[in-house]
Symmetry: C2
Subunit: 148 residues, 2 copies
């Protein structure tokens, strides 16, 4: 089952309709790298068909999220960021506060410890978001030897 089929199934299931715009936005999204903002997605879509309004892009990336094709990535501030969710497993982020470089990772020990926290407080897990901030190796080096 590929992304288009997932969407078609999701739509049919609740009486929604497939449209030219919807499909185009999906294709644009699939062709972009992770951490896409609605604005950047709109720009990409606009190149393929300049008749598509940006409200439609906002509406549909949101729909894709409900359908399980996209998910909101960590964002500290600024516009919402989306990443692919279909066949893209959960992961957390390690971000450089200087240059913005982002590493995606999964750490077994952390995931296990998180389950223990849920258990301790009697909560039923539904998901989590974790972002580690720091200086990437390059920025750290530049930081320690400013103009040597």
């Amino acid at each position: 089952m590929d992304e288009r089929q997932v969407l078609e199934h999701y739509l049919k299931e609740r009486g929604l309709k497939m449209t030219k715009a919807r499909l185009l936005i999906l294709e644009a999204f699939l062709g972009m790298e992770s951490h896409v903002t609605a604005e950047r997605l709109y720009e990409a879509v606009h190149k393929l068909d300049d008749g598509i309004g940006q409200a439609t892009v906002f509406r549909n990336i949101r729909l894709f999220t409900d359908a399980g094709l996209a998910r909101e990535a960590c964002r500290d501030d600024g516009p919402r960021q989306y990443e692919h969710a279909w066949r893209h497993a959960h992961h957390d982020h390690l971000s450089c506060i200087q240059c913005g470089a982002v590493i995606e990772f999964v750490d077994g020990a952390i995931e296990t410890a998180q389950q223990a926290v849920y258990k301790k407080y009697g909560y039923v897990p539904s998901g989590h978001r974790m972002e580690l901030f720091g200086l990437c190796p390059d920025c750290a080096a530049r930081h320690n030897s400013p103009q040597t």
Copy 2:
């Protein structure tokens, strides 16, 4: 060194001035429980002195953050949330997606594992943010027995 002294020190250090409004907003903030929004802080301040504008509240809670008296709490969406930072150690959040109940916790195993992740990728740690989502015990119970 109490909060007021911290602020005074921070101000003097960079040629800024202490004002009536500034002090009032600080006192209001200190008198409120964690996870305060600028709007709620403004309401509290307004009761003490209705001549204080809300831009001033926005400006000063931001200043407190720079001064190390406040810090931004996790927020998924909606207005920015602040919590006390002076003599309030780092912690993470476990939130109920149904009723919004929030538990603050620190887990040694997670903190240790996070350091290992930093090391693995050669990043210099500067902080992190983690929020676990789920159903609190009450909401989970209500969810399993809707109207029994």
